[in-house]
Symmetry: D2
Subunit: 335 residues, 4 copies
């Protein structure tokens, strides 16, 4: 079939928030959380590294758990739209004199060649890749629905949803603009620091119709390279309530939720992996943006509390209020 | 900000399923259904034409109700990604010697210039437009959330979701291939006619990460230019159950549902506007496709019943089983 | 049919929490809240008094709104199990030298003769009645389900659920024991004041398998005759979330919620009638008690926060924290 | 505390539908279903007999699985309100010349002395007991909520709800009247056989405010002593949908559902234990009856389909339509 689009070249693009590689001091305990409780499938284990995916993900993994001393983020990975986009992005990074490492295929099992660099202004280790295996789940776990890799289990997380990362107020504008200018992220909702108009306090951005695939937030303790949370998607708000009920009875640490954000209109429940203390958001609902001329929504100071918490358990933004605040990142080296 | 994407030209693209213009013999009765029961906002009325939108839509309308003798579809409208795409698509249609009408701005109130043509192989009147007003709702209806145009009401439909159209088995392949080749729709799930392998029985396609923005289905009575249903989106499966409960008590005609499709993993509830008998699907959930290398899922005969109805009230595909089957379309002329 | 039970006499008993008569300074505004927003049916209006019921209630009313200067509670009404129980309870009250008024039939429209007295230790005006009309709803509102009086509307409150009343710590034990000894309420869950072991801080009691039809709580400002809230029942937790969403957008005042109580395992959402500021709980779920040998659950200080809020928006028990604290009651006179 | 009720004697009464003892040819497979999938706790195992309860049940068990050749019901057990009621009911049975066996304590582990007899007109083996142990769950399963015995797991069944039993049309009136006259069940909703007015087709009865604790239905194949289904309660309708989704993917046999009954207003999902083929209803919602003067609702022929299925997957009442129809019962002997 000849397609009209074949006459055009959209250039290199990010397709989705693909996966995260989290360090944990206790792999078995983290597996109790992500696999046995949230319901992810452990697709593969190699030594002290485990690869997991959700039941609605066909790719090899969206979460890598690496047993290591430091509970930091080893990589934030984004999938690109076309095989050639990995190389095209690498060229652009070099043109901008940003240091880029090539991550050989199978460094993360099941994944092709990737590139790795530090987010300008954020220092978060970003990886871009295209190729990823799509293994069938073992027969006893395999879903009868071909759009699911495995049967729903546990709390029913169905796919990775987004990253929320933090950096210093002094460099956040650089980081936010860089992902918009170079990776194609669009600002969907945002707020400036009340004390510093024009400086991003938080920006929710996406390359997809989701309200955000990536949020960048100013870190109140002036730290760069921080993870606030990684989010996994649930089907319905009712799934979020069941998750809250079960996690509370399991005495898993909550930092906030359940509640509904005004920003994005989604249900949130922030809990912590008991082994690594990384914050995980169980996320449901939200609106989709199909308008090509979407005007980013600015949240001013007075309305901002409704933006954080439209209803439900309020989010406390004071550092250390509940649970670990943020998680640092590995630098520019291969794990 | 200089964007990397500025160096590239993605060509003309469809952004979303934008709206539908339905004929109804009784405007007030149709408004009872769409406005008072489903909960849409009537944004504007001009004579016998009413313009409505859902509470999560910022554009002027996604539904036009036109009081007229024939309960047919006057137009299926798609919004394009860039202002220039309307003209670029018009040029391509002329190049292919497809007749195109220009629909002047404000023919549908609030909308800019559009083009109108008949879908090759389907004869459905398609309209493409870019400009649309984004009026604020009246103050008493306006939502405190800036991402909603108005407060949630009634059964809580939040946006138009997709069209399901039908054409003759003898021309369906032409229609399906034409939208894929020219409008950028991607096949996500599909089935061939059991009696005619290679002939599309149903194809679910999208330009967005939704599993489908448009489905094309073979009409069992060999009719072209038919609407099977237009779908409106609900937030959660529980909203679909509440809708079923209330609509049943209002004695609105159901053709099937509630139930969950295996195809697309969404909840369905098919009901009929009591004035026009057009079929409307209340639709919730479903999975999103972010994989750039998505392999279309083929449904073979044995699995197809699970695809139609994974659980719940089974869909009966026999003509005339419950409610009006399909609705014809206006031809290539301006209303 | 001869019944084995005919050989026995269970004595006078309370059948259910039947209704409440609330004073409001602005009847129309209160009707906007209870009728137009929560979805109750206004069964009858006489002058400045309106009678309402929920769609799953067959009796004439469970809520009376009386326009008057003081936004107090005029009566808490309980239905008894048998016609003769009204008189039997009256005799017992007289035996105990508690002053009793006879409330003539039709004092509240649709209701038979009642008796009225002040709760010993609480001073809340309690009324006991048996006869109540069961009028059909107007045809356009009538449900097609005979177990519902009308079609579900608005936020879908389906029946009155319970009263939560407050009295002074110095008399609360008297009040709590009196309803248990005389009205047949059973303690289901309770807590003592941390500073005064043996003094009830809160006691949740029922005559039905509900965890509570009546709660009595110590008032921190030492006031007797207070209403903390009256609760209306929703079918599902998801209905509570939809209610929160809509009420928040309507800018109705929340005092807490949505959240889930550990005590009773039910969802709560406390909001205020904008006219009278009476607190209303929208309540869903909870467990039922069928065990005849149920051991009342005592909540000790450390666990109590989990009892109040198992998850969700935490209940703040500091006086005046959000919204009006409590509402006083009319004394021992007929309205 | 002296209670007013102490002056009266309500006589022997049934407190609740307490438990069922099911035969199964494959205990491990039945445990996969009831314990591992539905989420019950296996409290105890003795040889080929397993005792299970739901997470909201404090008593020792509500389900006994007995490995045996015949997949029949060994006993339907009801708990009485007072210790002396077991003996009082035994005396009444003897007075009526109904044969009664004494079932010694610990015949079912954890249970006190019971009596056993065949339901007149039904031949179902009924057992009445009062004493039952309330063991704590093992620490790792124990809930942090004292009103739950264990943490919610699996599909979240929280308690046994009701029995639906069948007998021959020629004796059904005897059976239905007997339980009403002697065990205190009240008719809540019912239908007569269209071909035989005055003969019960189905009667939903309760001793509690539930719409039914016991239903008796005419068996179309003229069999006595049949079980149609035993029901377990879920919290919300959304739990019923999640259960349907998961059970469908596990390829468990459905006989009908999910859907909502007009009769009782509850969600149903009928599935079959894959080992024994006993039908199990997962049941959510429904209305509660507090009216002491409740008028039983009669369902006439025309309305009856809406009564069976208000919305959702329709119940097919033709014998053998989907799954095993009914399950016979053991006679009057001790297992």
């Amino acid at each position: 079939m000849t397609r009209l689009s074949d006459k055009y070249d959209p250039g290199p693009q990010i397709a989705q928030c693909g996966g995260i590689n989290l360090g944990t001091p206790d792999l078995e305990k983290s597996l109790w959380f992500f696999r046995d409780t949230l319901g992810m499938e452990e697709v593969e284990r190699r030594g002290n590294v485990s690869y997991l995916r959700c039941h609605q993900e066909l790719g090899h993994h969206s979460l890598v758990l690496t047993e290591q001393a430091e509970a930091i983020v080893n990589a934030y990975s984004f999938r690109v739209r076309r095989p050639q986009d990995v190389e095209l992005f690498a060229e652009e990074l070099k043109r901008q004199e940003i240091e880029v490492l090539e991550v050989p295929a199978e460094t993360e099992i099941g994944r092709g060649t990737a590139i790795r660099f530090l987010l300008p202004g954020g220092d978060h280790p970003f990886e871009l890749y295209y190729d990823i295996d799509k293994p069938l789940a073992p027969e006893h776990m395999r879903s009868r629905l071909p759009s699911n890799s495995s049967k729903r289990r546990g709390l029913g997380v169905r796919r990775i949803d987004h990253f929320n990362i933090q950096t210093s107020p002094s460099t956040i504008n650089q980081a936010e603009q860089w992902v918009r200018a170079n990776l194609g992220f669009k600002r969907r909702e945002f707020a400036y620091l009340p004390e510093s108009p024009g400086t991003v306090m938080a920006s929710w951005m996406s390359v997809t119709p989701q309200m955000h695939d990536l949020a960048i937030v100013a870190n109140r303790q002036d730290k760069k390279a921080q993870l606030h949370h990684v989010a996994f998607n649930l089907q319905d708000f009712s799934d979020g309530l069941v998750a809250a009920d079960i996690l509370k009875d399991l005495d898993v640490s909550f930092s906030a939720g359940p509640g509904k954000h005004g920003i994005g209109q989604a249900m949130y429940l922030y809990v912590h992996d008991p082994a690594s203390d990384h914050r995980v958001e169980l996320y449901a609902g939200g609106y989709l943006i199909f308008d090509p001329d979407w005007e980013p929504i600015e949240w001013k100071k007075e309305a901002f509390p409704d933006g954080l918490t439209w209803y439900g358990d309020p989010i406390d933004t004071k550092p250390g209020s509940r649970g670990r605040d943020t998680t640092g990142s590995a630098g520019l080296h291969l794990k």
